[in-house]
């Protein structure tokens, strides 16, 4: 099973691909709304991609208020 560090890195990699940003520019503590300039719906689109990758379901409510990659990874990790 993945540990939190691995999960966080995979979240960063998928966000990098999904939003087509330069690899290595995202870090766990980044506020993804600000760093990527995205709105809440675009964040939900990323969530769908993460769910497919990790094979889990995250209800919208569970990620409400989450704005950085580390916390997002923690929510995913708790469901793995």
């Amino acid at each position: 099973m993945r540990n939190l560090e691995q999960t966080t890195q995979e979240v960063l990699d998928l966000a990098t691909q999904h939003f087509r940003v330069t690899p290595g520019t995202l870090s766990p503590s980044d506020d993804f709304f600000k760093k990527l300039g995205i709105d809440s719906l675009q964040a939900l689109e990323l969530l769908s991609r993460l769910e497919n990758h990790f094979g889990i379901e995250l209800p919208d409510y569970e990620v409400q208020g989450v704005s950085n990659f580390r916390t997002l990874a923690e929510r995913i990790q708790s469901r793995l």
């Binding site: 719906l41 689109e45 379901e57």
Partner: protein, 570 residues
């Protein structure tokens, strides 16, 4: 549709709707691509009555208050029905608030019964503030896992009684709902809405956008939202229509729901509408040159034939594939909660999908003006609804002044705040704080705000006072949050931002450490509540004798600064 002029209360009208339309489909609940529930009006009654009776057995009676904190789902409506049936007052709260904000509003509203979902209760149960809401006697929690400690709550699904509930009649002037328009930070604004407010609003809205048995309304906004409460609950129910709840806002599932359930109406906030536009535009852009030219040709023909009014049949023939993606039955998209850019509205209308944009605020019921589509106008927020009196006060040379409203849909006042109520009304007219003018065709054109607040594209009202607590003890001499457009008035309803005005200590500099501290505090706020930048003012903030900041005078002083150079982005 039921003749609502004959009814005294929401509860009485809904009670009759459940028997009048007993065999019609009333609710469909879907989670992503899975349908979880499908109820007729009779089924709905069978779910709601045992709950209503159990509430009565627990001592819940006329005028007692019950709060619902839930995401978008069918149990919201079943619970609300039970509250109205028993004569109670409903306090719908936004599930996106923080636990401490929830407890603050539960306390302020003197809520007796709280109805919520397990994931929300898990956060609420141990949050500070629970002890202060000491009027809460009963908590009902839906969808809790088996063998879980519910911290004093009871399972919604098991809270039932087999005997018939007793219907408790209410009068038109009684309070039906307390709806918080804002004020989680310091001064809660609990709008006291009467049964008459809702009955009159429903008649006005359905005169323009009618429902009937067979209509399917897609509900993706939570029902605490004023628009969804009216067009996703009370309106369709009193007409025997069907509400389809989608428990996610994920764009891919929203798109799928239209054809799957052959949706007739949907309500969206501008953010979601723009997302749909973006998705469609991207698909158009991918079309090969010839196909793109043909599409543009048909859009052009549609535009020419729908100039004076929508022609749904024609549009569905001309642009069949696009309409098929929306299920082929879509009559209109209702958009509200915030200002929508005309370009987005026009984009959909040109495709033959009318967008019913309008203007409203919680204090005035759901809507004040709505686009009647005859003809469609993307540049206005429509004409006043039947029964609405709207006037422009103190207009400038260009006709722009403050919008005042008077109608049977306007609230009676703010709960526990007679002073604020007096400030908000003038001779029976509600002062909206919004600026606008009427054009020659009687359409209202909004052009800015007089009040110190912003509205986000998600339809959230943010008042500076509500977010200042996060900056408490910031190591500066003084601070104050403002809506930038309040300080530097701008004839615009989009791109609104909040700024943090700072007065530093003597010899204090705006260092990276201070900036980092501000950013860290700012990040504790939900993303749509965050301040955009900092404005430095090197003078004492004007204060009252009781040392409160005189915001209007401070705003005038800040306005002396040049906006573009004064705001230091965070």
């Amino acid at each position: 549709m039921l003749d609502l002029s004959k009814y005294q209360s929401i509860g009485a009208a809904l009670k009759d709707a459940l028997t009048t339309f007993a065999n019609e489909t009333c609710l469909i609940e879907a989670d992503r691509d899975r349908e979880k529930e499908r109820l007729t009006y009779k089924d709905f009654q069978n779910r709601a009555h045992p709950l209503a009776r159990a509430l009565q057995d627990a001592g819940f009676s006329a005028a007692d208050r019950a709060s619902i904190i839930m995401t978008n789902q069918s149990k919201w409506l079943i619970s609300a029905y039970a509250v109205f049936f028993t004569g109670g007052t409903l306090v719908p709260l936004d599930y996106k608030l923080t636990p401490s904000e929830h407890w603050q509003l539960l306390k302020h509203s003197a809520t007796k019964v709280l109805i919520t979902e397990y994931p929300i209760w898990r956060q609420l149960a141990n949050a500070p503030g629970r002890a202060t809401a000491d009027k809460v006697e009963l908590v009902l929690v839906t969808e809790a896992p088996a063998n879980t400690d519910l911290s004093g709550a009871q399972r919604w699904e098991e809270f039932r009684s087999t005997s018939e509930p007793v219907f408790i009649p209410r009068e038109r002037k009684d309070i039906a709902c307390i709806v918080y328009s804002s004020g989680t930070g310091g001064r809660p604004k609990g709008c006291m809405m009467t049964h008459e407010n809702y009955l009159e609003q429903c008649v006005a809205l359905t005169s323009l956008y009618p429902f009937w048995p067979g209509v399917r309304y897609l509900s993706i906004l939570p029902t605490n939202h004023a628009i969804d409460f009216m067009v996703g609950f009370f309106g369709p129910f009193t007409c025997g229509a069907c509400v389809v709840h989608l428990r996610t806002l994920r764009p891919e599932f929203v798109r799928e729901a239209f054809p799957k359930y052959e949706i007739t109406y949907v309500s969206l906030v501008p953010l979601v509408l723009k997302n749909l536009q973006k998705g469609l535009q991207a698909r158009f852009d991918e079309l090969p040159g010839t196909k793109r030219k043909i599409l543009n040709l048909f859009i052009g023909i549609n535009k020419a034939f729908t100039k004076s009014q929508p022609r749904l049949g024609l549009s569905r023939k001309l642009l069949g594939q696009i309409h098929a993606n929306f299920g082929g039955e879509l009559r209109a998209i209702i958009v509200g909660g915030a200002f929508t850019e005309p370009e987005t509205l026009q984009f959909f209308y040109d495709l033959g999908i009318p967008v019913a944009n309008g203007y409203g605020l919680t204090e005035a019921g759901t809507a004040i003006t709505v686009n009647d589509l005859h003809p469609f106008r993307a540049d206005t927020v429509g004409k006043p609804l039947p029964g609405m009196e709207v006037k422009i006060v103190n207009p400038a040379e260009d006709g722009v002044g403050e919008v005042y409203v008077r109608s049977k849909t306007v609230m009676t006042g703010y709960l526990n705040d007679p002073e604020l109520t007096v400030e908000t009304f003038s001779d029976g007219w509600l002062k909206t704080g919004d600026l606008g003018r009427f054009d020659q065709a009687g359409h209202l054109i909004l052009s800015g705000r007089k009040k110190n607040m912003i509205v986000t594209e998600e339809g959230k009202n943010i008042y500076p006072e509500d977010i200042e607590a996060v900056f408490e003890s910031l190591p500066v001499k003084e601070f104050c949050v403002f809506a930038a457009n309040y300080v530097w008035p701008k004839r615009s309803m989009v791109g609104e931002q909040l700024v943090l005005a700072l007065h530093l200590e003597n010899n204090q500099a705006f260092t990276d450490t201070l900036r980092t501290d501000i950013i860290a505090r700012n990040n504790r706020l939900l993303n749509y509540k965050r301040v955009h930048g900092v404005v430095l003012l090197d003078e004492d903030f004007p204060r009252t004798a009781s040392l409160k900041i005189k915001r209007n005078i401070l705003a005038e002083r800040l306005a002396q600064l040049d906006r573009s150079s004064a705001i230091l982005p965070l």
